[in-house]
């Protein structure tokens, strides 16, 4: 096997790992924004989820309990956002900022007070984490060129959350386009008045979407703290929630392209990690910041309408108020 293939395989493998938290957050944003609730608080929900997962798993060394804690914490934050955006008809952007700021402050303060490790949660033993799963025949397949190597290196050997994340993509597509709940969700993001007059509750639908976003951000946070790493570290999300938001725009709020966008941004991240200090023939050293900046830059270019047009759901960000005329 060629060395280039080997490098490519490794890059793709690490891209998969890096794109998983993006994918969870991106799908979370997709549910929320498709239902008409802007969510710039993905970052904060993921962060509080990661903290809760790390904290819970350090007390009871069980990854599933960690995951449950992450989901609960993230859903709690999602409900705050829902209360502000849906019940109180507040500014959804402001509420999202509040979620992010609160999560960043609370995780540091509580982490420090509870664990005394400068904001970290204690290092987790293997039993408290989601460990890598070797799929059947992965060892045997290694010998088969290309396909086998791809199977054993890229497809096999991830934690269960990675497979959950990828499985969520077709599932989300199915839910959105083939179920009644999905139909209603899309409707409430486009024209809530139509949903209201059809005898459905706008608030209930939006709350259900916001809770869904909370659950998925919880998964994303748990992945960061107890699958990818062995515990929570201060500001562990490091802007991933915003990259996920960018990916959501890039995918034009559709599940299948969301997978592509998250993988692309994950790949850029993987490349940025590898390229540091490496001199590429003919180009020389590419500053790592240039690659780190790409997702943001691409999103701005997309938003500017130079490559296709990203049209958000029509009612996104607008609180629903029965007009009394």
């Amino acid at each position: 096997m060629s060395e280039a293939f080997q490098i490519a395989i490794l890059a793709v493998d690490s891209a998969v790992r890096l794109s998983v938290p993006l994918l969870f957050a991106c799908l979370a944003g997709l549910y929320s924004e498709r239902a008409g609730v802007v969510d710039i608080g993905l970052e904060g929900k993921m962060l509080i989820g990661a903290f809760a997962a790390g904290a819970a798993a350090s007390v009871v060394p069980n990854p599933w309990l960690g995951l449950l804690a992450a989901v609960l914490a993230s859903v709690l934050f999602a409900l705050v956002h829902g209360f502000a955006s849906i019940s109180q008809r507040g500014n959804q952007i402001v509420s999202g900022v509040a979620i992010n700021v609160l999560a960043s402050g609370l995780t540091a303060v509580l982490g420090n007070a509870w664990f005394n490790q400068g904001g970290r949660t204690p290092q987790l033993p293997g039993a408290a984490r989601f460990n890598e799963i070797t799929l059947p025949f992965a060892e045997q397949a290694r010998a088969v060129p290309f396909i086998g190597a791809f199977y054993s290196e890229v497809v096999s050997g991830h934690s269960v959350l990675v497979y959950v994340a990828i499985g969520l993509v077709p599932l989300t597509w199915l839910v959105l386009y083939r179920t009644s709940w999905g139909l209603r969700l899309r409707a409430v993001g486009e024209n809530p008045a139509a949903v209201d007059t059809a005898g459905l509750s706008v608030a209930k639908l939006r709350y259900s979407a916001v809770i869904m976003a909370g659950i998925l951000c919880g998964f994303g946070g748990a992945y960061l703290a107890i699958a990818q790493s062995a515990g929570f570290v201060t500001d562990m999300t490091a802007g991933k929630g915003f990259i996920a938001l960018a990916a959501l725009i890039f995918a034009k709020w559709r599940p299948m392209p969301a997978l592509g966008a998250c993988f692309l941004f994950g790949l850029l991240d993987a490349v940025a990690l590898r390229i540091q200090g490496v001199s590429i023939p003919g180009i020389g050293q590419v500053p790592v910041q240039a690659i780190q900046a790409l997702p943001y830059l691409l999103t701005v270019v997309l938003l500017a309408g130079f490559i296709g047009k990203a049209t958000p759901p029509k009612a996104v960000g607008i609180p629903y108020l029965k007009d009394r005329s």
Binding site: S180, A187, G199
Partner: protein, 512 residues
């Protein structure tokens, strides 16, 4: 037989506004029932309560004799009530089938429900001759089709009682005719139809009985055949309405506004103004009649410099204008063109501003209001106080928030701002929409006075009576074209109706 609908003692307040005061309404099954009243009389509120959109503070509802607690639209749908709202309640990105099945999907997955709905749609379309493609995306449909989708939506959900709120506002006379035929047919099959409108003619044409509301109260229910428009109008407004306005014949002077071959497209590329030409002279009021949405708004906005025409020319006092380009609204104001916009809430005022700030909208750069880049608060307040006095705006408090004034007083504020700046040409859109009767008379008098002072006025109103009463000449618009010109005193009702529908007798007959 029990009435299909029996509403008793319905009471509803929105804050300080008493929208419904102990209203009773009884509608017989299988009848066409009209509900009329002025804007703000409480018709829509009453129907929204019947549909479960609002909760009544007091009162009871019985459907087919059974007391029904209608708390949500779901309850109403369950009770066999369907409503076609004035603003269509459709999801634009969805197909017709998806819109119709929303809320009645028949299970967790949509596939089976979709085919059931498609079958029902096709059966109903066939039975009633409503041509609607179930798989068309709603954003591609025309207004008339959208209304049909709304009606189908109600029927598919099993509505026996159909409420239509101002169903004809956006339709051409031909479409109105088709709609009425359909509604008659539904009524003859035992369905109960309620039409909410403020148009007397329609009530007289199609209903069996009519209920009249005024200021939140039900003032009477009559057999349509036993009444006439004048009596209904009196019930609606509470006194005999003088539909004619006293004015002396006009003495038109020089041409002030000359529009030639004006063509305008909207953002989607649809031709909204189709090569329109006309003149307005000093000292005359030229009225534009027509069903709303036939290019009148675009005409006003183009001349006012808000839109840019595709081709054609506009000249003010002989000077060719570059509307929407160099001649933006600000430049045009400097040239003596003033504009009372059709929708004062959307354009004419800034509701969170205080009255004084709203009173300088469009005039904030005038030197009288401050030195250089600065705006003098005292000068702005003083200006507003003067305008309020001369137009009798109540309360005369320049520091009160614009939103807190009544519709009539808001409109007076806009008119004062535009009229009292000595315009050469005044564009007026819907001068009395949502304005109480007293203020209507006042506004009409001021417009006539302005005409008599030798100013040119171009008036757009979808109230045919208003156009006929105020104008010296009436142009009729349909589909972006001027389909005819009449003197109000010579124009017959039927004649105007045909012109509004786009049937032109003036046009040279090509085939002949």
């Amino acid at each position: 037989m029990n009435p299909a609908i029996q509403m008793t003692g319905i009471d509803k307040r929105f804050g300080a506004v008493h929208a419904n005061r102990a209203v009773d309404l009884s509608v017989e099954q299988g009848s066409m029932h009209g509900l009329i009243g002025e804007n703000g009389a409480g018709k829509s509120t009453l129907m929204s309560i019947l549909y479960g959109f609002y909760h009544a503070d007091a009162g009871t509802i019985a459907i087919n004799g059974r007391p029904s607690l209608i708390r949500t639209p779901a309850d109403a749908i369950h009770s066999g009530i369907g409503m076609v709202h004035q603003h269509f309640m459709l999801v634009e990105t969805f197909t017709v089938v998806e819109n119709v099945m929303l809320g009645a999907e028949g299970g967790a997955f949509t596939a089976r429900g979709a085919s059931a709905v498609r079958a029902k749609l096709q059966a109903l379309s066939y039975a009633y001759g409503m041509d609607v493609n179930p798989d068309a995306v709603v954003s591609d449909l025309a207004v008339g089709e959208l209304q049909r989708v709304e009606i189908l939506k109600a029927l598919v959900k099993g509505a026996n009682i159909l409420i239509l709120d101002e169903p004809t506002a956006v339709l051409t006379p031909t479409e109105v005719e088709k709609l009425f035929v359909l509604l008659r047919r539904l009524a003859s099959e035992g369905k109960t139809v309620i039409i909410v409108t403020h148009k007397l003619k329609e009530i007289m044409a199609v209903t069996d009985r009519v209920s009249v509301m005024r200021r939140g109260e039900m003032v009477g229910t009559l057999e349509t055949k036993d009444t006439n428009p004048a009596d209904l109008a009196e019930l609606m407004v509470g006194r005999r309405v003088v539909l004619t306005i006293e004015k002396f014949p006009a003495h038109p002077g020089a041409v002030v506004l000359e529009v030639k071959d004006l063509a305008v497209r909207d953002a989607r590329g649809t031709l909204r103004l189709d090569h329109v030409s006309f003149q307005v002279r000093a000292g005359e009021i030229v009225g534009i009649a027509g069903v709303s949405g036939n290019g009148q708004s675009e005409l006003l906005e183009t001349i006012a410099g808000i839109r840019r025409p595709e081709s054609g020319s506009v000249a003010l006092n002989g000077e060719l204008l570059d509307c929407g380009g160099r001649d933006d609204p600000k430049a045009l104001r400097a040239k003596g063109l003033r504009h009372v916009p059709e929708d004062r809430h959307r354009m004419g005022l800034v509701k969170p501003f205080d009255a004084a700030e709203s009173a300088i909208l469009g005039c904030s750069d005038e030197p009288a209001f401050g030195m250089g880049p600065f705006l003098s608060r005292d000068a702005v307040l003083a200006e507003c106080a003067v305008r309020m006095q001369s137009f009798d705006v109540r309360p005369p408090d320049p520091t009160l928030r614009t939103a807190l004034f009544s519709g009539g007083n808001q409109q007076k504020l806009v008119l004062a701002r535009e009229i009292e700046r000595d315009p050469k040409l005044l564009l007026v859109g819907q001068p009395t929409r949502g304005v109480d009767i007293g203020a209507i008379e006042f506004i009409h008098k001021r417009l006539i006075a302005l005409r008599d002072a030798g100013k040119a006025i171009l008036l757009v109103s979808t109230e045919l009576d208003e156009v006929m009463a105020l104008s010296d000449r009436v142009l009729v618009m349909c589909g972006g074209r001027i389909t005819g010109e009449r003197r109000p005193e010579d124009a017959g009702e039927q004649d105007m109706g045909l012109l509004m529908a786009g049937v032109t007798s003036d046009a040279p007959k090509a085939a002949a």
